[in-house]
């Protein structure tokens, strides 16, 4: 399929589908949609690192939890009117933390980088659990207040949808910017990027800071969704889940990750109603996807679209 056509189709689908949710009267459906857009922002931010730059961080939950706790703790302590500026503070805190952690971990390559990001996230998880007086430990934070106008499922959904859409637009611009192109170059051939006169480390660091910043915004939005957050947001299964969703949806496509998120969340909801073993089905689907369709859902769709496309146009690329 033509690249521009695919982009237009996916953006339209995103806006129509998730924008259209505001006309749906079903509270439960709106709650599911809110989960999908928030986790979708997490997954797409993560994929800037993973799919674009080729950096597998196993610790992005650190920033998801960080965003949630910065928002949740401030709103809880100072009241619902402070929810919004707490949310504005989130990207700044996240970027500062990412700058330090990135500078330390990006010096390492491949699996060592992955392990170090995991270690940092688990460390923060441990601190959150143990430092009861500051974080409420294992109890998490409940009943996080929000401003009046964000109360109610639909109002908060509209707010989350708008914030996520602005963030996705910025990330999409980055994806196709000169910087985004250089990131793809770093994934494929860092030595050559170096011989283009560029400092690979600094480009990776900026990618890491930006990715972590948007991940933290997703976490901040989650804190307002149910008004309840828990140290589990920092834990490695959270980071791992996002990796799985991204691969399921397709890491070589901008929107792939959010499609993976949607499939996960919907499966959990639908299958979860009839059995508590819903994760078994997720596991089975992952095995099928990884073995048969390693390019994810978007990759498969592209192949199908290719079958029906005009033959004999070797210049067309997906």
């Amino acid at each position: 399929m033509n690249h521009r056509l695919e982009t237009t189709a996916l953006w339209s689908a995103y806006v129509l589908l998730f924008g259209g949710m505001i006309f749906v009267k079903n509270e439960h459906a709106i709650h599911i949609a809110a989960q999908i857009v928030i986790l979708g922002l997490f997954a797409i931010s993560f994929n800037i690192l993973f799919g674009n730059t080729g950096l597998l961080s196993f610790g992005q939950a650190l920033f998801y939890g960080l965003g949630a706790y910065v928002t949740g703790m401030i709103a809880k302590k100072f009241g619902g009117d402070h929810f919004l500026w707490a949310l504005l503070l989130v990207p700044l805190v996240a970027m500062a933390v990412a700058l330090v952690l990135g500078a330390l971990s990006l010096r390492l390559s491949d699996v060592y980088f992955t392990m170090l990001t995991l270690a940092f996230a688990q460390l923060v998880w441990g601190i959150t659990i143990k430092w009861y007086d500051f974080t409420s430990g294992d109890d998490g934070i409940q009943a996080i207040p929000k401003p009046e106008f964000l109360a109610g499922g639909l109002h908060y959904y509209v707010f989350a949808f708008l914030v996520v859409t602005v963030c996705l637009y910025l990330l999409w611009r980055l994806h196709r910017s000169p910087f985004g192109t250089i990131l793809k170059g770093i994934r494929q051939n860092p030595t050559r990027v170096n011989f283009l006169g560029l400092n690979v480390f600094r480009h990776k660091l900026l990618a890491y800071v930006i990715s972590s910043c948007f991940t933290a915004i997703a976490g901040g939005l989650y804190a307002g969704l149910d008004g309840s957050i828990h140290p589990d947001m920092f834990v490695w299964t959270m980071s791992g889940g996002i990796i799985l969703m991204t691969i399921l949806g397709g890491m070589r496509s901008f929107f792939g990750p959010i499609i993976g998120v949607a499939v996960f969340v919907l499966l959990e909801d639908v299958v979860g109603r009839s059995t508590q073993y819903w994760s078994f089905f997720i596991g089975a689907i992952m095995i099928v996807v990884v073995m048969l369709f390693p390019k994810g859902i978007v990759g498969v769709s592209r192949q199908f679209a290719g079958l029906f496309a005009k033959k004999g146009d070797p210049l067309e690329h997906s």
Binding site: L170, R173, L174, R176, S177, P178, F179, G180, T181, I182, K184, G185, Q188, N189, T191, R192, V193, N194, F195, L196, G197, L198, N199, H203, L206, I210, P314, L315, E316, H317
Partner: protein, 250 residues
Amino acid sequence: MSILELTNVNKHFGGLHVSKRISMAIPEGELSAIIGPNGAGKTTLFNQVTGYITPDSGSIHFNGVDVTGMKPERLVKMGVVRAFQVASLFYDETVYDNIFMAAVAFHGKNWNVLASKDSYQEVDEQCQSIMTKLGLRNKAKLKAFELSHGDQKVLDIAIALTMQPKLLLLDEPTAGMSPDERVNMTQLIKAIHREFKLTTVFVEHDMDMVFGIADVIRVLVQGELIAEGNAEEIQKNLAVIDAYLGHEVL
């Protein structure tokens, strides 16, 4: 004035002395070749000149500036650019995007995180001009992995030229090529040298090409520079014949 000057450059890999007190001066605008048997230290010499590895001792001057031990990214900015023995490309990207990345780097647009890719006219113009000059224009939308081996090597050189080098180092430009591709590459290098008036150094095993186009030929054997001269002088040099060319060639 010489653009590149090596003085007593030494490099060891463990017990192996890969560069032995190499001194040479390459004048500006020269098209020269470095030849020698496998393992003579030709690529290692390139790696030192381009900053990929640092000499153990000795110095490298580029345009009168001491660049010994300088990092590749700085040397590239100064104009020392190379192409690789095995084409070093972004294989999942199109020909255009491969050159685009180099043009973005050259114009310093690499930090722009929000601009659309095609918002820089000068970047696009440079890409088009390089593709036209190297005959890659009708392959612009092909991905690098879809190209023939010969075209991949041409693209590698195209990326290097996009950086507007002052000194171009080509590591075995015809390695693994078919005879036809060799002829084309030979003509291409000659044309590049003429068109860009560029100091060019290439490492090569194809002697027809070396003696055909190089103004000056330098011979490395076991890390040592044993001879330097034009085609005729090198072909008659007994040390070179013994060590590399062999007697039956002549």
